[in-house]
Amino acid sequence: MDLSAFVPAFDEQVDNILFWLTDHAAFFFDGARVVLEGFYNGVLWLLNLPPFYVVAILAGLVAWRSVNLSFGIGTAIALACCAVMGLWPETMSTLALVIAASVIALAMSLPLGVLAGLMPRLERFLAPALDLIQTMPPYIYLLPSIALLGYGPATALVATVIVAMPPAIRLTSLGIRMTPNEFIELGEALGTNRVQAFFKIRLPFAVPSIMAGVNQSLMMAFGMVVIAGIVGSGGLGETIYGAIRTLNIARSIDASIAIVVLTMILDRMTQSMASSRQKMGE
């Protein structure tokens, strides 16, 4: 067996398959790209519509309502700092990427998680796939997406969606399965039908777990969006990538601060939503 002949043959085969795909399935990938970029641009347009202080104040108000007053004030000041550092457009495009990717990921993984929670068979079928996705370093998800969608935000979105899905699926199905038995039996005794039993009993109990999943997904999405700067996603990731390559220390510190600020704000907000729902449940 000659191993050295295998590598060039493999590379050639991969190139051939990619050429074939770009020849025959271009309409599909172009379509996907246009849709994804359109969605991303829409979110970005919305975020850029108001001036930065309006966004900062709104975010501060939301943070105040969801966490507490001092965190709200901190949020507003921190976001204003991003603008003062001259990184407002980058911050907003990173935020738009995270939002767009999380919306797509959640739209797919919440129903899937509910189904997996209701059907143990599907759960057993999904578990190894989710394990594998979570075992692999996030960085390599950029490879297939850049091969098929090319350089740009669409690639970043696809890779981010893949990374963000597993925690949401897992925690949703966990939440659905964890409904206390006596409540299901109570529902049966009261003669609820299955739809009612799901929406009135199982779902409310699952909400804290689902919110924890949303928080985890968001954090995974963040990590990925920043890495995706290398494939031209735009935003803070690309700023850092460029700054590191030109050894522009000041700029890369600024961009890192902006990333940390944004991550902290979103993390605390979603976390507190999860815990406040929990309190309501109790």
Binding site: F10, Q13, V14, I140, I230, V231, A250, I259, V260
Partner: protein, 276 residues
């Protein structure tokens, strides 16, 4: 109005680089030496010999399933023509995990003993685990420039929080009656630690080790962006030059290494459970 905190911190970094250069250079040389040694010992034998040794060890200790898995994963790396890069990545992960555990383990025990220390540590760990991995590479690159050393420093820092948390959890979870039993029979604190607490905490510690290994691998691969070498560098080359064949091979080799490290450390955990 424009204000850049980075413009204030950058001179501080410069100052550090000029005044502490001997220290950083020494650290660099030390890490390079350790890494070089481990890499050389992984590469000194021909690939087939390494595969045979790992497979045999897995067969003897963990059973035939792990042996088959180890053989397939390592054989796959060889088949993909990325043996050297794979071994470089494995060496980076091993060194990073060893140092991270050496730092996190005593701190974790201390945090389990002193609730105050843990309370002080908790917000720092929270922040460290929320920040995206990319951000860890930036300060490392500023001080150690490009190459393997910043990569490994960032990886160590990234791997510490999960290990620290699970060490604290593990030692907190040791049943009090066991510890009291040790004190009652007049065992020295050191004996209690190694003969009673450590065995009781082992399952949770192994979970922490598994987490630490996987996070370190993710970071080491990402560090290909700052010139860490290994499989991460091949993935980066594939991505930036659009050499999809190379990128795909490197990506699959990363998967093989990840699956191998994950399953081996998990199998070690199961082995432990079976004994208990």
């Amino acid at each position: 109005m424009e204000f850049s905190p980075g413009a204030f911190i950058a001179p501080a970094v410069d100052w550090l680089n000029t005044n502490f250069h001997p220290f950083f250079a020494m650290l660099t040389r030390l890490i390079e030496a350790i890494l070089g040694g481990i890499e050389a010992s992984l590469l000194v034998l021909p690939p087939f010999a390494v595969i045979a040794i790992v497979t045999l060890a897995a067969l003897l200790v963990l059973g035939w399933r792990m042996a088959v898995l180890a053989f397939c994963c390592l054989g796959f790396c060889l088949l993909m023509g990325l043996w050297i890069a794979s071994m470089q990545t494995v060496a980076l992960v091993l060194v990073a995990v060893a140092i991270a555990v050496a730092i996190a383990f005593p701190l974790g025990i201390l945090a389990a003993r002193r609730p105050r220390f843990e309370a002080a540590l908790r917000p720092i760990l929270d922040i460290m685990q929320t920040v995206p991995p990319w951000v860890y590479l930036i300060p490392a690159v500023m001080i150690f420039s490009l190459g393997r050393v910043p990569a490994i420093i960032a990886t160590i820092v990234y791997g510490i929080p999960p290990m620290l948390r699970l060490t604290t959890l593990a030692f907190r979870g040791v049943p009090t009656d066991l510890k009291e039993l040790g004190q009652a029979i007049g065992a020295k604190p050191r004996t209690i630690l190694f003969k009673i607490e450590l065995p009781a905490a082992k399952p949770t510690l192994l979970v922490g080790l598994n987490q630490c290994i996987l996070l370190s691998l993710a970071m080491v691969v990402l560090a290909g962006l700052v010139g860490a070498g290994g499989l991460g560098a091949e993935v980066t080359r594939g991505l930036t030059r659009m050499e999809m064949g190379l990128g795909l091979r490197a990506g699959l080799a990363v998967v093989a290494v990840a699956v191998l490290l994950d399953r081996l450390s998990r199998a070690a955990l199961e082995l432990d459970r079976r004994k208990v």
